[in-house]
C-alpha cells in the first residue's frame, strides 16, 4: 500500500477542492434541487411564504403530459433539432471540405471570415436579421420581389417563423462545427488518398471510402454537441419572435423560462427542465446506439 507514504493532507486537495466545491454548490446541488422542485407546487405564493409549499408527486408531470402548449413546444423543438441540426452539420461539412481543398489561396483568412458570426452576440445579430426579414423594408423580400415572388411576412407567419429562425441559427453557428471538421479533415493522412488514387478511386469514391470513415469520430462528436445545443434553443426565438406567431416558434427552453421566471411557477418549470434533460438523454443515447450499430455492420 502506498497510502502511508502520503503526507497527512494530500496537497492535491488544495488544487481540486475549489473547483469541485464551486461545481457542487452551483451546479450539482441546484440540479438535485431542481429534481426535488419538480415534485412540488412551488409558485409565487411559496416564493413569499415557504409554508405554502406542497409535495404533489407526479402532478406536474401529469399536467405537462396534458398541456397542449407543451406538445406544441416539444414539436417545435424537435423540428428545430431534426431539421436544423442536420442542415447545420451539412453546411459546416461543406464549408470545411471547401476550406481544405489543396491550393485554395488565403484559406486561413476565409476560415476566419466564415467563423465570425460564431463570436457575435445573438441579441445583436437578431437586430439585423429582424430587419432582413422585415415584410416591407427587408432585403429578403426585396430579393423575392426582384425574382418575381410575392412578399412574405417571414416572422409574422406561422408557416415561415420556424424556418426563418432556423436559417439565422445555421448562419450563426455553422462556423463552429466547420473549424472542428477542418481539424478532422487535416488529420487524415495524405497517403490514404494517394493509395486510393493509385487504386483508381475518383474524387467521389475517395470521399466515400477514405474521408467519411476517417471522419467518423469527428462527425459523432459534432453530431452530439449539435444535438444538445439545438434541443436547448432559447435565445433565437426569444429575441426574434417571443415564441410567436401563434406559438409557432415556442420551444421547450423558452416555455420553461416563461413558466418559471415570468409566471414564477417554479415547480412546473422544473418539470419542463427535466423533460428537456430526458430529451437530451434519449437523443444522445439514440445517436450512440445508431453509431454502434453502424460500426458493427
Amino acid at each position: 500500500m502506498r497510502t502511508p507514504l502520503w503526507p497527512p493532507v494530500n496537497p492535491a486537495l488544495g488544487f481540486v477542492a475549489p473547483a469541485l466545491l464551486l461545481i457542487a454548490l452551483f451546479f450539482v446541488l441546484p440540479v438535485a434541487a431542481g429534481l426535488v422542485l419538480s415534485f412540488t407546487d412551488f409558485d409565487i405564493y411559496a416564493l413569499g411564504d415557504l409554508d405554502r409549499l406542497r409535495w404533489i408527486g407526479f402532478d406536474n408531470y401529469r399536467r405537462l403530459w396534458n398541456d397542449p402548449l407543451v406538445g406544441r413546444a416539444l414539436g417545435n423543438t424537435l423540428y428545430f433539432t431534426l431539421v436544423g441540426g442536420p442542415l447545420s452539420v451539412l453546411c459546416s461539412l461543406g464549408a470545411a471540405l471547401l476550406m481544405t481543398r489543396p491550393g485554395l489561396p488565403g484559406a486561413a483568412v476565409w476560415r476566419t471570415a466564415l467563423f465570425l458570426p460564431v463570436v457575435t452576440s445573438l441579441v445583436a445579430v437578431a437586430v439585423v436579421w429582424r430587419y432582413l426579414y422585415h415584410p416591407l423594408y427587408g432585403a429578403l423580400n426585396h430579393l423575392m420581389a426582384w425574382t418575381g415572388f410575392e412578399p412574405i411576412d417571414w416572422l409574422g407567419d406561422a408557416r415561415t417563423g420556424m424556418p426563418a429562425i432556423l436559417l439565422l441559427a445555421v448562419w450563426k453557428n455553422f462556423g463552429f462545427n466547420m473549424v472542428i471538421f477542418i481539424a478532422g479533415l487535416q488529420s487524415i493522412p495524405a497517403r490514404l488518398y494517394e493509395a486510393a488514387a493509385l487504386d483508381g478511386a475518383g474524387r467521389w469514391a475517395q470521399f466515400r471510402h477514405v474521408t467519411l470513415p476517417m471522419l467518423a469520430p469527428t462527425l459523432a462528436f459534432v453530431a452530439i454537441v449539435t444535438l444538445i445545443g439545438h434541443l436547448q434553443v432559447f435565445a433565437e426565438p426569444y429575441v426574434m419572435t417571443q415564441g410567436g406567431p401563434a406559438d409557432a416558434t415556442l420551444t421547450v427552453a423558452l416555455l420553461m423560462y416563461r413558466e418559471g421566471f415570468r409566471w414564477w411557477k417554479l415547480g412546473y418549470a422544473s418539470a419542463l427542465a427535466l423533460m428537456l434533460f430526458a430529451l437530451i438523454l434519449i437523443g444522445t443515447g439514440l445517436q450512440t446506439w445508431l453509431r454502434r450499430r453502424g460500426a458493427r455492420s
Partner: protein, 273 residues
C-alpha cells in the same frame, strides 16, 4: 490550364460564401450610420447616403451605453480571471497529482456535461435570492467560476507535461504550489490564452443567465440592455443597429486579435475527446 480554371472557380465559390456570411454584419454597420428613417427607404440601399454618427451619440448620451459597456467588460473580465484560476488548478490536479478516486471523479464530472443548465437554473435563482445575490454582479459571476469544460481542456493539455520535469522540481525541494507557479503555468500558456478567450467571449455574449439574475437597468450587460431596448425602440432601426454594432464589435476585435489561439484550441479540444 484547367487546373488554374478550377482554382479560380473554387476561389469564387469561397468568396461568395464569405460574402454571404459577412453580409448581415456589414449591413448592420452600414445601417447604423444612416440618417433616421433611411433604413425604411424603398428600395433599400446598401450604403448610407450621408454617413452620420448621431445614433452612437444618442446611445452614448441618452441611453446609458457606457454603463452597459462597463458592466459587460467588468463581468466578462471577472469571470475570465476567476474561472481560469479555478479550472487551471483543478485541471492540473486531475492530470498530474495523485489523489484517491481521481479517475472516477473525473468521469463523473464529464458525465454531468449532458445535464442542461436549465435544470439547475430555477433552484440556483432561489439560492441566490436567499443569499441576497439576485441583481448583483456576484450573482452573474458565481455559477461560471468553474466549469467541467475548462477543467477538461486544462487536463488534456497538462497531461503532456513530462513527469520527470515535475519530479526534478520536487527533488530540488520545491513545494507543489511553487511547482505549479513556476513550472506548470508557464508551460500551459497556450491553453490558458485559449481558455481565457473562450470564457471572455462566452461571458460577453451570455444572455439567459444575466437576463434572469439582473433586474435593475443599472446593472444590465450589453446583450440584456439591447434586448430591452429592442422592446422600446424596435422602430428606430438605425439606432438599434448602432447598439448591435457596439455589442458585437468588442467581441469581434478580441477574436480577430487572438483568433489563432481560439481556433487551434477549439480544434484540439474537440479532437482529443
Amino acid at each position: 490550364m484547367s487546373g488554374g480554371l478550377a482554382r479560380w472557380a473554387m476561389s469564387l465559390v469561397v468568396a461568395m460564401l464569405a460574402g454571404l456570411t459577412l453580409f448581415p454584419l456589414a449591413w448592420m454597420l452600414s445601417v447604423s450610420l444612416m440618417s433616421p428613417l433611411e433604413a425604411a427607404d424603398l428600395p433599400p440601399h446598401l450604403l448610407p447616403r450621408a454617413p452620420t454618427l448621431m445614433h452612437y451619440q444618442t446611445l452614448w448620451q441618452r441611453l446609458d451605453l457606457p454603463r452597459y459597456l462597463a458592466n459587460s467588460l467588468l463581468l466578462a473580465a471577472a469571470t475570465t480571471v476567476l474561472s481560469l484560476l479555478f479550472n487551471t488548478l483543478g485541471g492540473y490536479a486531475f492530470a498530474k497529482l495523485r489523489f484517491v478516486g481521481r479517475e472516477r471523479l473525473f468521469r463523473l464530472l464529464l458525465a454531468t456535461m449532458v445535464i442542461p443548465a436549465q435544470v439547475g437554473m430555477l433552484p440556483l435563482f432561489l439560492m441566490l435570492k436567499q443569499f441576497g445575490l439576485v441583481n448583483t454582479y456576484a450573482g452573474v459571476i458565481l455559477p461560471g467560476m468553474a466549469s467541467v469544460f475548462g477543467i477538461f481542456m486544462i487536463r488534456q493539455y497538462a497531461r503532456s507535461i513530462p513527469d520527470s520535469l515535475l519530479d526534478a522540481a520536487r527533488i530540488d525541494g520545491a513545494g507543489e504550489w511553487r511547482i505549479f507557479r513556476s513550472v506548470v503555468l508557464p508551460l500551459c500558456r497556450p491553453i490558458l490564452v485559449t481558455l481565457a478567450l473562450f470564457s471572455f467571449l462566452g461571458s460577453w455574449n451570455d444572455f439567459l443567465w444575466p437576463l434572469i439574475v439582473l433586474s435593475d437597468g443599472d446593472r444590465y450587460t450589453l446583450p440584456v440592455a439591447l434586448a430591452n431596448l429592442l422592446g422600446e425602440h424596435a422602430q428606430d432601426t438605425e439606432l438599434m443597429m448602432a447598439g448591435a454594432v457596439v455589442t458585437t464589435l468588442p467581441a469581434v476585435l478580441v477574436f480577430l486579435l487572438l483568433q489563432r489561439h481560439y481556433l487551434a484550441g477549439l480544434a484540439t479540444g474537440a479532437l482529443k475527446e
